[in-house]
């Protein structure tokens, strides 16, 4: 393997690669091989493609590349076919293994597979000429390069940002570039990244640490997984730059154990970078040393909080500590430590390469750049999207997401995970950035966006998030440990029909108390789902309390099943009922014994005549 120990060697190597990788290749076939792609069945497709290329004797002109997630989760397995001569590329979705022949022969359209529209452009490669809603900086390489090949990363100007920083910039210049760009922490808090670096750089210490927080724990958020699986080197490169900026020689990536594929690819990437001299001693001949090690989480959501994360790296229980002192002053092993999340790092190289002014042109004034969201829930086009800050929720949900599944009515979108809130129809047109989401009673969080429709009960959603917090609370401080338990009990009373106005009042009051008194971010934000649902959907709470009804027909205890006049007496419901509470003669209207009914809904699902009403 070539040793790239000067920036000239890197540039020369990149040129050679660009020649070599294109070669005689006429067609490139990119196969999406992220966790969700593999789960959706891309592995047999890849095997068939390889076989077909050999059978057609086209090894010299067709290149098959395994890439990371393209973000088109709604159409997995996805495949992109690129015609090198014309530069024309088309993405095909829902590709089955038996289409391999057609793909290799580029007659895929004739084989009846529909192309999927790309709705993005790459700001690093030019202006948005069409009407693309997405701008991809963080995801610039995801779905375009083989994440297990450092050569492909280098061929796309990989490690050029590190070379530029280490050989032609002073560390203070690197910090001022990041500071000027206005980049804010993408993990949720939105603290200016440059400031964090500045604080750590100003400390005098015999050792400092750079940590990448890859403990993506928000349920419903998977952008960090996509970056780590699809473009691991961009994170390593950014950590080198951060290390150089603050004067640290040791990097740590803290990654959750639930992401086995991301762990594998990171491990592989670190090995490659070390072999080529891009990690280790005297990088690019600059005299700067930097190394990265991987540390694994073990299933604790609270470890996404930076002080808890540091405790976990130190091998302790992942309980949060008091701040101040902030990690930038005293963090890992009590040394100055910079903690940034994966998406934040993924922005750094692009900023160093193109400058702060370029970055500031994208997004809004207080939140420059883009944000990656994972769009899930009751939406037609589920997937990973990256949009400039300031895009409206309406554009995201109705243009990119193509609206609500099964033509149901949109109810709310939940952002910010268990710490966030719900945003309703009324606010769909506000441009979203860090500040506006907080003004709407939610927060950016790590970028999970879960769309809810008319069939979702908001009280039940609030209860779900409380269950999550209860499970994940580390138990160190009383407001979080006991307060959240009480909140959960009160919500439970409401969903089983024992709610009163007094409980609703207590719910509000206790929520505010927990917010004011909990120790860490987990506890301080845990009542947000409760407060935001009460604020936006008070009528739903009141329906549960005053009328003992669940308008979305979700809360089982408040439901009743009744047989109407459509009943033809087919006996199907009675035969399926697990507690035999349905009686009636053949060809006669049946009756449900309400005292015995357990409200399981089996009869409702079984009936072919719409003869059962759920209320």
């Amino acid at each position: 393997m070539t040793l790239l120990n000067t920036s000239d060697k890197l540039t020369k190597y990149q040129k050679e690669l660009n020649g070599k990788l294109s070669g005689n290749i006429k067609t490139e076939i990119l196969v999406s091989m992220g966790t969700c792609g593999i789960a959706a069945g891309t592995t047999p497709v890849l095997e068939e493609l390889k076989k077909e290329v050999v059978e057609q004797n086209m090894q010299d002109s067709v290149r098959i590349v395994q890439v990371g997630c393209m973000g088109l989760c709604h159409s997995e397995p996805t495949i992109e076919v690129i015609d090198r001569e014309s530069g024309h590329c088309v993405v095909f979705g829902n590709v089955a293994a038996d289409k391999a022949k057609a793909i290799v022969a580029k007659t895929i359209r004739a084989a009846g597979v529909d192309p999927v529209a790309k709705t993005w452009y790459y700001p690093e490669e030019g202006q948005n000429t069409g009407s693309a809603l997405q701008a991809r900086i963080v995801l610039r390489n995801c779905g375009r390069i083989n994440p297990e090949s450092i050569d492909e990363y280098i061929s796309r100007s990989g490690y050029q940002a590190a070379a530029k920083a280490l050989t032609s910039m002073k560390s203070a210049e690197v910090i001022s570039t990041i500071l000027d760009s206005g980049l804010r922490g993408r993990g949720g808090g939105g603290f200016p990244t440059g400031k964090k670096w500045q604080f750590a750089a100003a400390q005098k210490a015999d050792a400092k640490y750079v940590i990448c927080n890859a403990d993506e724990g928000d349920p419903g958020a998977f952008m960090d997984r996509a970056v780590l699986e699809g473009d691991p080197h961009s994170v390593l490169e950014a950590m080198i730059i951060a290390g150089y900026a603050v004067g640290s020689h040791d990097g740590v990536i803290y990654i959750r154990a639930e992401y086995p594929l991301a762990v594998k690819r990171l491990h592989h990437a670190i090995g490659q970078a070390k072999e080529m001299g891009l990690l280790g001693k005297n990088i690019f001949g600059s005299g700067f040393d930097f190394d990265i090690e991987l540390k694994y989480g073990a299933g604790a959501f609270v470890c996404g909080e930076e002080t808890a994360l540091i405790h976990s790296v130190e091998g302790k229980r992942g309980e949060p500590g008091f701040k101040p002192p902030f990690p930038a002053i005293s963090g890992l092993w009590k040394k100055p430590t910079v903690v940034n999340n994966v998406e934040t790092y993924a922005n750094v190289c692009a900023i160093i390469r193109n400058g702060a002014a370029w970055f500031k042109k994208i997004g809004t004034e207080n939140s420059p750049g883009t944000k990656v969201f994972s769009l899930t829930g009751k939406i037609n086009k589920v997937g990973l999207i990256e949009v400039p800050m300031g895009t409206t929720l309406r554009d995201i949900i109705f243009s990119l997401g193509e609206g609500i599944k099964d033509n149901k009515k949109f109810k709310a979108v939940q952002t910010g995970g268990p710490s966030g809130g719900c945003i309703t129809e009324a606010n769909l047109d506000s441009p979203i950035d860090y500040n506006s989401l907080i003004a709407l009673g939610s927060m950016m969080g790590s970028g999970g966006m879960i769309v809810l429709d008319e069939d979702d009960c908001m009280v039940n959603i609030a209860k779900f998030f409380l269950e999550f917090t209860l499970d994940e609370s580390c138990g160190r401080c009383t407001p979080c440990r006991i307060g959240n338990k009480r909140l959960h009990e009160m919500l439970n009373e409401i969903t089983i029909g024992n709610g009163t106005h007094e409980i609703l009042g207590k719910l509000r009051k206790l929520s505010e108390t927990i917010k004011d008194t909990a120790l860490c971010g987990l506890g301080q934000t845990s009542p947000n789902p409760v407060l935001s649902t009460i604020k936006n959907f008070e009528s739903e709470y009141l329906a549960h309390i005053d009328h003992k009804k669940c308008p979305a027909k979700v809360c089982v205890k408040l439901l009743s099943y009744k047989i109407n006049d459509n009943c033809v007496g087919c006996t199907l419901c009675a035969r399926n009922c697990p507690v035999t509470c349905i009686s009636g003669e053949r060809k006669q209207k049946h009756l449900i014994d309400q005292a015995k009914c357990i409200k399981c809904g089996v009869c409702y699902e079984a009936c072919k005549f719409h003869a059962i009403d759920k209320n």
Binding site: A39, Y259, A298, G315
Partner: protein, 175 residues
């Protein structure tokens, strides 16, 4: 005697029973750059436990003590860490670990009914293992495959768009 017996063999040493496994764990811990500073050694605790659980399948007291002695830590510290993180288990688990994702996206798409169906088929509750030690049922928070919600993970394999009807098929595949 098999490694699946949990009731009658409390006094049997699992380390003595599997000398190869013990050697593998010992070799791993010895390869770590341990020093005299017990604070720094503690930094290797979680990865050592990952390794130990990978080898033995679970972390009974005997193995906790072994790791503690190797890293020169107190048993109480080791146990404290094990009980904090949901990934670690002190009781043996089944050959197939069925984990139903209970993240938000899976929740709104009906993960509850999937859990119910597994419970019904296996006749165990969440967190339990079948008597024949074949299946363990549990929940996990978001595997990040929300586009395929609801998701079930069996060992390292991810099943997407699971419906209650698919539950017997998934169990059938576990052989």
């Amino acid at each position: 005697m098999t490694d699946q017996c949990t009731k009658c063999c409390d006094n049997v040493s699992i380390l003595n029973m599997y000398p190869d496994k013990k050697k593998e764990l010992e070799k791993y811990i010895d390869s770590l750059p341990l020093g005299s500073d017990s604070d720094r050694n503690r930094g290797f605790l979680i990865q050592s436990l990952h390794k130990a659980q990978g080898i033995f399948g679970y972390l009974p007291e005997e193995i906790q003590l072994f790791v503690a002695q190797k890293l020169k830590l107190h048993l109480s510290e080791v146990f404290g860490v094990i009980s904090f993180y949901s990934y670690f288990t002190t009781v043996p688990v089944g050959k197939f670990k069925i984990n139903v994702c209970t993240g938000t996206a899976c929740f709104v798409k009906g993960a509850d009914s999937i859990v119910g169906e597994f419970r019904r088929f296996l006749n165990i509750e969440m967190g339990e293992t079948t008597k024949d030690m074949k299946f363990s049922l549990g929940g996990l928070r978001c595997v990040g495959a929300c586009s395929l919600a609801p998701v079930v993970m069996v060992n390292d394999k991810v099943y997407g768009n699971v419906t209650p009807k698919k539950v017997p098929e998934i169990l059938e595949e576990c052989k």
